[in-house]
Amino acid sequence: MSLNRNIENLRKRKIEVQKGGGDKAIEKQAAMGKLTARERILAILDENSFHEYDMFVEHLARDFNMEKKVLHGDGVITGTGTIHGSPVCVYAQDFTVAGGSLGLMHARKITKIMDHSLKMRVPLIGINDSGGARIQEGVNSLAGYGEIFFRNTLSSGVIPQLSVILGPCAGGAVYSPALTDFVFVVENISKMFITGPGVIKTVLGEEITMEELGGARVHCETTGNAHFYAKSEQECFEQIKKLIELIPRSNTDKAKKAEPKEPLKEYNIEEIVPDNPKLPYDIKDVIRSITDESDFFEVMELYAPNIVIGFGRLNGETCGFVANQPKYLAGVLDCDSSDKAARFIRYCDSFNIPIITLEDMPGYLPGVDQEHMGVIRHGAKILYAYSEATVPKITVIIRKAYGGGYIAMNSRHLRADFVFAWPTAEIAVMGPEGAANIVFRKEIQEASDPDAMRKQKIEEYKEKFANPFVAAAQGYIDEVIEPDETRSMLLHALSVAENKSVSMPRKKHGIPPF
């Protein structure tokens, strides 16, 4: 009898807490086109898999009349669950409770689940929807943020960390997502910035809307802070589930193998790439002609589209693809594309995902803005990331591999494990026009018809050097292959590299050109 009463009491308490900020606040949340924190967690996780922790935590604020306020769960829901059967830890800030503001206990709940995910070696998914620091709790809320950032850094490269921005994430709060591996944003819902439009207007007199300043599109296209763009929360949840399925649980694990499948027939690798190295095509079609079921899960689709990164499977095994995109800016390397690729390479290396590099680029982008933005420092990141990576590294040179870009794109010289080239590959110190202008400058200048002489010399240079055989003669590439052998050669390489083992010099950590 008394036991029943206790159970009754527990159930009542649970129902009370699950109301979050109450009906009115939930209505407001819905009016903003947003799901509640609980709905979000349930939508991401497998059915009936969510186990909530720290439901009855209460805040400790005693100033500004806060002691009289009840904040259910202190504005954040934490716990564990599964996605496609794999365990994950999750937290979701509840905007209906005090605007999801971060106080000390709110932060403690988050750091507790973070510690748990690191100890258990399972991915962490953080859903951000918060007005920011709880001002009434003063320096304690700053302490809370700091302790979250510290754990983000500790966990970096050990467990996958996903940040989902489903509301405001402003001020110091933005640095947790910035420290994590993947950031998901949704149109009209996500807002990220350090200082908001109000402050910017007062201080600088510049007028800008929240969406223009730090909306989903801006962070995917302009800043590069976000990796996945979705039109709705539901689409965003599908992206999260797909990513979790593709990546391993931790850095001591390998990604789960899927059933091997053939690429779709509609992607015919021999028909995608034009002969003329100056004409564009979509490199993603080449990737799709190689991967299982022609499935390619692209990361940072909208940022620096001149390089393409993402995941695809080969005979069921997850691989990371890094590919120049001739469709945009002729596929050049520049500050932004170097940043984008380097970080992805390091991600794959941390999590035991083989890296496949598809190369077709004319070099680094010329320009004053590029030089002044530090293309030297940014470009060096790619060299660093490839050189440091110890996972299987395979390169396929499709057409152009010129100059510094050739070295950077996982060349033999950076200890690529396999380098294959199509017969259309041009591995040379620079493009034929530039090279001919330098090497034959005198002949061209002194010719009675310099233009005709230039053309002739360009042709000569092309004939001799714009091919894969000069590099093949040096052993810089392992084999010249026919385009339709690409998939089978990659499968061969992956199987040879299965037990790859290399040792690097002992160090605390390197000093990459951040």
């Binding site: 007199g205 003329n276 100056k278 800016l329 493009g431 034929p432 530039g434």
Partner: protein, 110 residues
């Protein structure tokens, strides 16, 4: 194969990379990239957006290198903007309490 301009291959712009011409889409950040301006030392520009607190010089005035021209307050710091070389003030484009953007030309020197 030589003249890509003459080849019908959709509506792609042409980009030149070390003398080679390529048909390719341009990205937003490339189209909106900052064009390089040769700096003019005779223009005193705001190094940071902020508010003018005080202006100490008038047009026509001779000013020695190192003398303070004006105070630009930004991020709660009062920055003294000084004369880069001996010269004569040509124009003063700001007055106290004015909010200026970065690179705004505050003073012109003859």
């Amino acid at each position: 194969m030589e003249n890509i301009e003459e080849q019908d291959y959709g509506e792609y712009p042409i980009l030149s990379i070390s003398s080679g011409l390529y048909k390719t889409e341009l990205t937003k950040s490339f189209r909106e990239r900052k064009k390089w301006d040769v700096p003019n030392p005779k223009l005193i520009q705001a190094i940071i957006p902020g508010t003018i607190l005080d202006v100490y010089v008038k047009p026509g005035q001779e000013v020695k290198k190192g003398e303070t021209l004006l105070i630009l307050e930004a991020m709660k710091m009062q920055n003294q903007i000084t004369m880069p070389f001996n010269g004569k003030i040509k124009k003063v484009n700001v007055k106290p309490d004015e909010i200026v953007k970065k690179k705004h030309v505050m003073i012109e020197i003859q």
